[in-house]
């Protein structure tokens, strides 16, 4: 796998693993307290798997492996959702070796479509979509005005962060947290948070390049 690609995935993975406790605590407040544990288990598995792809430079192939690995290691709601997201993002990035603005835009779009389909959800239901959908929109706005990858991702991250904030104001209607109804108000959604920190990790990694 090309060095850079490997490092991008690693950076995202390490961020999730590093935020295991925080994500778990968020889930404990309104869900069943396992989101960080699940995601960290998944990215530990990804880490192990990535070793076998050292020479691979096709982004699509790598993302497909990540998706498959997440599906078979995360479980819960996040596993199928993020797994599907990566699998779908692998389609427009198939054959690509560079994370350019257009590719990332298409990847986000495909990932979101996959999540919506798999989870039968839409925005406003206090899920990861509340971070990802606005992030994608902001990214596309940036792309339309010719901004760089980093600039577009900055816009996306900002929007994702606002999306996470927004999840505090609404009640959950999807996933285990939804059983809490009104009591979920005031708490931020763990899945939206993990989505945000993954985007943020990507941005920060690219900034460091």
């Amino acid at each position: 796998m090309s060095g850079e690609l490997y490092e991008v995935i690693s950076a995202v993975g390490e961020t999730i693993i590093g935020n295991r406790q925080m994500l778990t605590d968020l889930d404990a407040a309104i869900g069943d307290g396992d989101h960080g544990i699940n995601m960290a288990r998944g990215f530990e598995a990804v880490k192990a798997k990535l070793q076998t792809l050292e020479t691979e430079s096709d982004i699509g192939k790598v993302l497909k492996t990540v998706g498959m690995t997440l599906i078979s290691s995360v479980g819960g709601a996040a596993g199928p959702l993020y797994g599907t997201a990566f699998l779908r993002a692998a389609v427009p990035s198939q054959g690509k070796t560079e994370l350019d603005v257009e590719t990332i835009g298409l990847m986000l779009e495909a990932a979101i479509a996959g999540i919506k389909e798999r989870g039968k959800a839409t925005t406003g239901e206090k899920t990861m979509l509340d971070a990802l959908v606005p992030a994608h929109e902001a990214f596309q706005d940036g792309a339309k005005t010719g901004k760089s990858v980093i600039e577009c991702l900055e816009l996306a991250c900002e929007a994702a962060q606002q999306g996470v904030e927004f999840t505090k104001t609404i009640i959950a209607t999807k996933g285990r947290a939804s059983y809490l109804g009104e009591r979920s108000r005031g708490h931020q959604d763990p899945g939206a948070t993990s989505s945000y920190i993954m985007l943020k990790a990507l941005l920060e990694h690219l900034r460091r390049q």
Partner: protein, 332 residues
Amino acid sequence: MKKVINVPEQVVEEMLQGMVLAHSQYVKRVDGFEVLVRANKPGAGKVALVSGGGSGHEPSHAGFVGRGMLDGAVAGAVFTSPTPDQVYEAVKAVDNGKGVLLIIKNYSGDVMNFEMAIEMANADGITVDKVIVNDDVAVENSTWTIGRRGIAGTVLVHKIAGAKAEAGAELEEVKRIADKVIHNVRSMGMALDSCTVPAAGKPSFILEENEIEIGMGIHGEPGTHREVLRTADEITDHLVDKILADMPLAAGQEVAVLINGLGATPLMELYIVNRKVAALLKEKGLHIAKTYVGNYMTSLEMAGFSISILKLDSELKELLLAPADTPALVQF
């Protein structure tokens, strides 16, 4: 966190090994997967039943693998739905040509992972169908939920659908019966105290001394509300009320009752609850054809219990009373 474990990462693996060692006459491992299937695979001509979910609900689900109940059970991480590849392996291991029915508890994660497994199995040409158990009346079926949770009533689905499959029914019939149970079973629970997921290392929630949670799920997820501890009779009254408000039953109706311990509740307390349940149902002119009291669908060491009431007709009753021979339920 005080637990008799080695390392949190290994609890499911080591538990499965311990189960197989204890119950080798009933179950065996599908090598390399968190899947237990019957030690003796029934011959062709039997629809296979697979259930599963997060671990921590023992004896559910592997404890119900055996004659008259399940053919296979899939164990996820603690309180986390198993992944599709695991469910897929279970399906492949139990299928013998008459199709496989998946019994899923209604949690988004479980539904998604099991559905992905169905897609995988269908691609292999295996006929797989599913039922989704949603017996928990604590969660109102309103616009802001994705439906009710599946809790202890699931065990009654295993029992009755299992008996139907054992009797040689076709997949469609077994599914019809499973759905009939789901349609006629209601449950609700309460917790005195939380539990601790090994990998989390601390309690899923904290209740004050004297505080209880009503309508708890089986994953430590919060219930409908908290209140001050009341007497067993008052709590039971409330739960039965909620169940019967959701499923009004006419006098003379036959029912089955399951008083399910969540893990740390002494049988003594479950029997005290059963006494009140029986009295309340009798008052309403209902006849209890069968009662189960014990730990059937637990939440690790959570203290508390749930009550399930199943409305019976002659078909359901006969299947409920049919024999079963599994590690956790033997009935002849």
